[in-house]
Amino acid sequence: MSAPAPSVDCVVVGGGPAGLAAARTAARHGVRVLLIDENAELGGQYYRQMPAAFPSAGDGVLGRESVEGGRLIDEVRSLGVELCLGAVVWGIFDQRTVAVATRDATRRITAQALILAPGAYDRPVPFPGWTLPGVLTAGGAQNLMKGYRVLPGRRVLVAGSGPLLLVVAHYLLHGGARVAAVCEASAMRQLWRYAHRMLPHLNFVQQGYRYRQEIEAAGVPFLTGHVIRRALGSAEVTGAAVAPCDDDWAPIRGPEQSFDVDTVIVGYGFVSSLELSRLAGCEHRWEAALGGWVPVRSREMESTVPGVFVVGDGAGAAGSAVALEEGHMAGLAVAGRFGRLAGREYARAVSRARGRLLHLAGFRRVMDELYRFGPGLYTLAERDTTLCRCEEVTAAEALEAVREGATHVNEVKAWTRVGMGRCQGRMCGPALAHLIARATGRPVTDAGVFTPRPPAKPVPLAALAQESH
């Protein structure tokens, strides 16, 4: 076997805010950085850029994050960071050797420092009708509207939790769509209790308040303590219903409120992409406040594997501001490891970054409490609701396996095919773990995770057969 390509100092996986910030900071201090991203353009999800072929950014309303991101992207390019775009990191071997593939070839790169910034994806919540064309995630709606200026539909129901719902509704209204309702799962009670903790973050509060005003002025009902109950239609969405929920976000049996819509947008938080941090051998722990597993990290963003850092939403979805700071922190740490930053200068830079992270953490804690994820959502699935979208396995089939003794996600997978599809268990994993937990009465952590294996994403076999350098 040929030896891996000559190493770079630092490989950054993921070109969203966290990865860009890490690459920028490390490169600013003279570290040789290689930044790899699956997409043809940098920006990830938060900083998704308009296509290069579009001559202008269009109206300013949807452009702010794009412009902010564009500046960071320009800086990263100007610092001479080596870029590898349209390339998928499909494996991590021997802790810091990264396997990356394009359509035609694969190569291995051994890094002395590896910064993983793989981001997160919308939490998939199975409910009756969730597979119909016209049901899409909040992230998917954002990509469409911000990235291509296309509306997902004309009559839209927005359901989920958190400030993102208001942003989505805002963009929809701006684009001329009719928003039938915005359904927030959280009961949003006693907001005054959070007032003092939100004082340092007034800009966020003001923005949220403005969005609320806007949807109210547009006559859009804002329902709290409600969850999506079902999407209706046979070839595509023709309607949807919501139901009141308890504090666990479990639907309360009873009358459902129907809406005449052609589109349903669901946004119930985000799941960190942990495939690479698991393949790298990093330890993870269950973080109930974040609703899932996250990698264990030091204050400098280093994982339990020396030289492997994890930053941004890939280490627990916390938003773009946190992602930027965490990326920056890891960049500083890597610069320190290479001796490019030392002593008091290092300590000061790290201390400032830590201060900003602590400040943001205060805001995050309020958000995580206010919109604390309710696992009751996973009771939305009915017996014949599709649990595994790829392999078309129903909740009932999974439950049958559990009753026969399959109490780990790998065991249910083996017997029912849940998790065996092209999405590699991303869409069904969390729901399956909760289904098992509910059926067995044991903690959701006992249900385990699908065994991490390469490739982290589907890779062309022809590319695996062709090693490049």
Partner: protein, 396 residues
């Protein structure tokens, strides 16, 4: 803590353990299966799923003997098991071809084919064109000939384990999953009970079906078992419409297509201890190695890889035996690369041995004594398979 007694405790919940439990339960025995993880989560769930009556292994037994009988008993069982238990095991006798690329191998193949035909097994000797026509998705310039057996086929090994486990459960078998065996109590010349992490189970019979961990269980009664883990890595593509119809034996790596449409590519056989990692070298080796033989795979994506630990013995044949000392101790270990081929056959044989029925195979067909006694210093040990960097060409 003392748990309810069982006639039999089966150690290991893979294909062998669940098959043994199933057939013992059919005979009316009360059985407890103790498995430290879940059913079929080790080698049983990590193999290619071939069920071949005639293949490379037949070259070791050119006159069909006990190995053939073991496979034949399994083939017979798999044909009806799905319906019996209500679990579709996706078994199909799609037919299989074993080919040769050297004159030596071709000669051995022909000799074995002759022996099998005399025994009444349908086998056809094919010329190179015949081999390629047999499976149009397969290609090789170097083929000198081959043998086709219409009874060769494939199964879903994960569902096979589910079928045996479900069938066993319905017949009253108790499954202790997530439970480790800590000791086997024996005295006065016989087994008495099994100590587990959940409590002690008094029993008359203990069956060691612990796969790659059989030696650890053997140690509990002072038995040195020549079973070592032999890692096998496998690669899997996305599902596509069926285009590989037969089972092809002899290609390295081989490819076979499942009911769903995924193509399974593999496998390796390596000495990697108990490491179940998949290596980048193997992934590259598989991709490069399979494309010339199965060119249509070039357009497919790989979506998964995995590795299992096969329980290997020095001669790659299993050890299936009811011991006299201590009485009640049964071995069903060392199935090497053919656990799925031998599972039902093993279950039936152990059921015979335990119930005292005349076994359908000679009692000493797979006995431990065929290996020279093992001692701490020297003596025949199971030779470890070649090191991790050397991937052996032999396939089943």
């Amino acid at each position: 803590m003392r748990l309810a007694a069982s006639d039999v405790v089966v150690i290991g919940g893979g294909a062998i353990g669940t098959a043994v439990a199933y057939y013992l339960a059919v005979e009316g025995k009360s059985v407890t299966v103790v498995e430290r993880r879940g059913v079929g989560q080790e080698a049983s769930g990590a193999n290619v799923g071939l069920v071949t009556l005639f293949s490379g292994h037949s070259l070791d037994e050119p006159d069909p003997g006990p190995l053939y009988e073991l496979t034949r008993a399994s083939v017979e069982a798999y044909t009806t098991l799905g319906e019996e238990v209500g679990v579709d095991i996706e078994y199909e006798q799609c037919g299989g071809v074993v080919f040769a690329e050297t004159e030596d191998k071709l000669a051995t193949l022909k000799r074995a084919a002759e022996g099998y035909r005399r025994h009444g097994v349908p086998v056809d000797v094919l010329d190179p064109r015949g081999v390629l026509d047999c499976e149009p998705a397969f290609y090789s310039e170097r083929i000198l000939g081959g043998v086709f057996c219409p009874l060769n086929g494939q199964v879903n090994p994960l569902l096979l384990c589910r079928a045996f486990a479900t069938g066993a459960r319905r017949r009253g078998v108790r499954f202790l999953l997530g439970t480790t065996v800590q000791n086997i109590y024996h005295g006065n010349g016989r087994v008495r009970a099994v100590k587990t992490s959940e409590g002690d189970i008094p029993c008359e019979v203990v069956v060691n079906a612990a796969g790659a961990w059989a030696a650890d269980i053997g140690d509990m009664t002072g038995l040195r078992l020549p079973v070592v883990p032999a890692r096998g890595q496998i690669m899997l593509t996305e599902p596509v419409p069926r285009f590989i119809r037969r089972v092809v034996s002899g290609a390295e790596p081989s490819a076979r297509q499942t009911r769903r449409g995924n193509v399974i590519i593999g496998s390796t056989i390596e000495n990697a201890g108990f490491d179940k990692n998949v290596t980048t070298g193997t992934i590259a080796h598989f991709a490069r190695g399979v494309l010339p033989s199965f060119p249509r795979l070039a357009g497919l994506d790989v979506i998964r890889t995995w590795a299992g630990l096969r329980p290997a013995t020095p001669d790659h044949k299993p050890i299936i035996q009811s011991l006299d000392e201590p009485a009640g101790l049964c071995l069903a270990v060392g199935h090497s690369r053919r656990g799925i081929c031998y599972a039902a056959g093993t279950g039936r044989l152990v059921a015979d041995l335990v119930t005292g029925r005349p076994p359908y195979l000679p009692r000493d067909a797979f006995n431990l004594a065929r290996f020279a006694p093992m001692s701490p210093a020297g003596g025949e040990q199971a030779p470890p398979p070649p090191g991790p960097d050397h991937i052996r060409a032999r396939s089943t």
